[in-house]
Amino acid sequence: MDFLVKFASAFMGVFQLGGEQFMGWVTGIIPTILMLLVMMNAIIALIGDERIEVIAKVCTSNPILRYAVLPWLSAFMLGNPMALSMGKFMPEFYKPSYYASASYHCHTNSGIFPHINPSEILIYLGIAQGVTSLGLDATPLALRYMLVGFIANFISGWATDFTTALVQKQQGISLSKEIKSRA
């Protein structure tokens, strides 16, 4: 009988621990995130998607604009996954590189701007919550995540130019580097 009681209380203990973790996240994370989401959603709705498209067309010309500035802006304005659609203004050759950079930007900026990728935010939040529960401020972490991301995502995007050239050779395909005039 003792054994049964012990087993049952251990069994319940597992879910109590899980519940505590859940409550910690819900009360510690959700309220702030919710307020941020409301604000960001509103800002984006007021600025409008069309303006970012105008910027996107300008940004195709050089690597820094292409793999650092535009992906950052698109991630901020459009979030995951629509930020990836801004690649449509690139010549075919640069689309994979833009994707490589923009998809990373949907992660590295999410510490400060959670609206970018709320469904995958727990990578950042999980770790940040650990830091906060030690009594430390998570802001430096979020800020560094974004700034290092800015550099690292640019490198990742640019490096893809070279791997694309390599794969092109392997597969005997050549992609255009010119912007197609589109209707």
Binding site: F22, S156, Q168
Partner: protein
């Protein structure tokens, strides 16, 4: 038309949506699958046999959207499950996932069915709806916005140019409505994506910590998550081309590891100094599962997708160590005691 037969697809156990009737036409004659990093799903042979549709591997190549009669995905509930329903292409999700993710609003019973196995697929006879006829329903969303615009224009006209009060009222009304909608969307996001995931990972952490499994588990993870070389190795392993695509969907594995690493930091078993390095190491393979879809969003051509899938996986692998080391350098002074 004769060679394309209609099938009826019902939802599986725990699934959502349907039943769908899939009918290929001369133009819409392809079924694209974007599953398991390019591995054909179990249900594909049966669908191909019954419908006569041509199978297309979304990881290898792509097909013009207007030729797709059906898309098969294995999305865990974040993105893909809403993308094709948004484009009004009939979608089968082999995972039992309902309305979920940022595009949840587009996931409706008439275009999406989930949890499907071979048992739910049967030939359909009689009343058949060709997929093309489903398309016009997509327009509905715009209507609301246009109507309000017209209404506000009308009001502005009737108020006249001189009526400043009316203008201020209209402006304020628009801002309030925008914020209200923003709040509605934000709450929806919390409910459909954030809370379920938190509950899921919390339960995992409960099991890990409550069963004594935790000490055993962190014994394994400690060397990987708890030191810079370990995180570097983890980052490189996760970004190995091919493996990276399998680890990707929904960033589930990264999110679980993030939750665990945070819990370990809180418990004092991992130094908070490693937090930034951890963030980069856990995410080296980001979006490798999503390349064909992402390039599709960028309106890439078929050849671009073929090259791009391989190219992005290579570059992820090639730059993963650079990213982790950059994070190491920029961690100087972060949470050092």
């Amino acid at each position: 038309m004769a060679e394309y037969k209609a099938i009826r697809v019902e939802k599986g156990s725990g699934g959502f949506g349907g039943p769908l009737t899939i009918q290929g036409t001369e133009k819409r004659n392809k079924v694209m699958y974007i599953t398991g990093g390019g591995v054909a799903p179990d249900i594909l042979p049966k669908i191909v046999e019954l419908t006569g549709l041509e199978p297309v591997n979304g990881f290898k190549t792509s097909a013009p959207e207007d030729e797709l009669a059906l898309v098969i995905i294995d999305c865990g509930g974040t993105l893909r499950c809403g993308l094709y329903p948004k484009k009004r292409i009939p979608t089968i999700n082999i995972n039992p996932v309902g309305k979920s993710g940022p595009l949840a609003q587009f996931i409706t019973e008439d275009i999406y069915v989930s949890g499907v196995t071979n048992a739910q697929i049967s030939p359909a006879d009689g009343s058949v709806v060709p997929t093309e006829e489903a398309a016009p329903a997509a327009e509905e969303k715009k209507g609301g916005i246009d109507t309000t615009k017209k209404l506000s224009e009308q009001m502005a006209e009737s108020g006249g140019k001189g009526n400043v009060l009316a203008k201020i009222g209209l402006g304020a009304g628009k801002v309030v409505a925008t914020f209200n909608q923003a709040a509605r969307d934000a709450v929806q996001t919390c409910i459909t994506t954030l809370l379920p995931f938190m509950a899921f990972v919390s339960m995992l952490i409960g099991i890990i910590n409550g069963t004594g499994f935790g000490t055993f588990f962190s014994g394994i993870l400690q060397p990987l998550l708890g030191s810079i070389p370990g995180l570097l190795v983890l980052g490189i392993i996760c970004s190995i081309p091919g493996l990276s695509a399998i680890l990707g969907p929904g960033a589930v594995i990264s999110q679980i590891l993030g939750g665990i690493m945070g819990a370990e930091i809180a418990a004092g078993r991992i130094s908070p100094h490693l937090a930034l390095v951890g963030l980069f190491a856990l995410n080296c393979h980001a979006a490798c599962d999503f390349i064909p879809v992402g390039l599709g969003l960028a309106e890439a051509e078929t050849e671009t997708v073929e090259v791009g899938v391989v190219s992005v996986m290579y570059s992820r692998f090639a730059t993963s160590w650079i990213r982790v080391l950059l994070a190491v350098v920029f961690s100087i002074g972060l949470y050092t005691v």
